[in-house]
Symmetry: C2
Subunit: 180 residues, 2 copies
Amino acid sequence: MDESKYAEKVLDTEKIFQGKIITVRVDSVELPNGNKSKREIVEHHGGVGMIAVTPEREVFMVSQYRIAAKSMMLEIPAGKLELGEDPLEAGIRELEEETGYKANKIVPLGVYYATPGYCEEKLSLYLATDLEFVGQHLDENEFLNVSKFSLDELYNMVMDNKINDCKTAIAILKAKAILG
Amino acid sequence: MDESKYAEKVLDTEKIFQGKIITVRVDSVELPNGNKSKREIVEHHGGVGMIAVTPEREVFMVSQYRIAAKSMMLEIPAGKLELGEDPLEAGIRELEEETGYKANKIVPLGVYYATPGYCEEKLSLYLATDLEFVGQHLDENEFLNVSKFSLDELYNMVMDNKINDCKTAIAILKAKAILG
């Protein structure tokens, strides 16, 4: 496929908002047919998610209040990256902070755009096994509940449409495919 | 679990940006321990994605330039909702527009938050089968390439970390689990 037939050319960019988590800009672009359009873009340093599975096929899950969903959500341990931070290092840190476990074996499960239409966030996912307890150490302003679920129960929850977080659904489905 | 132990209370909200696709606001919140914090939130009307599988187990895939990824991306047919629009109706419309096919059988594959930490977008996914050709009709400013892949090839691409879009990975993994 000839990418130049589809690519958009950025003519101008306007910064709208610089927050702590996201930056928002609007790009003026030229479409392949010469028409002009605007693209609203959310910049983000990226994220990481870890599905950590014990030898008993149990998975550490985090339940936390998500203001965007206005409810508690059940997710794999995850976190956002500092600018330029290595996703794997961040993932190991987040997993330890949230669950108290260090993973001695880690397999990459891919890098994903959550909403490629307007958001630059890339999310790296990993499967962590061979776990070793080193102690949980949550930030004082982090409120979450950590519990263990069987991988098979989580898989059934995904198939029954009861998991509502993209990264969590992908991680469970891939972990199940890999671990059987 | 007692949700009130984890919920955040919104004290104030400031609108930052009203775009065509997204709205950005910053909420001032009180955490469960009484501390104050800010939450940067992206509002979005929601999206829909359709994995359409032919009787020959072929899947319609869309390749398009995504400015957030600065490259072409391979995705299932998808689109954004108008405010209050029914996701299923929007999905049927998007599938027809992009591929020319109408689905006579549709199974819901769940509703997902793409990035629940800061974005309100909910994405509904559906598995569409029993397809009937009615004619493609792309918007004049929509530039995309539609092609068919076998479901097994796509499944292998997901497992080899070669699919980089969240909704597309979930839809392929679930379609493969359902259709075998």
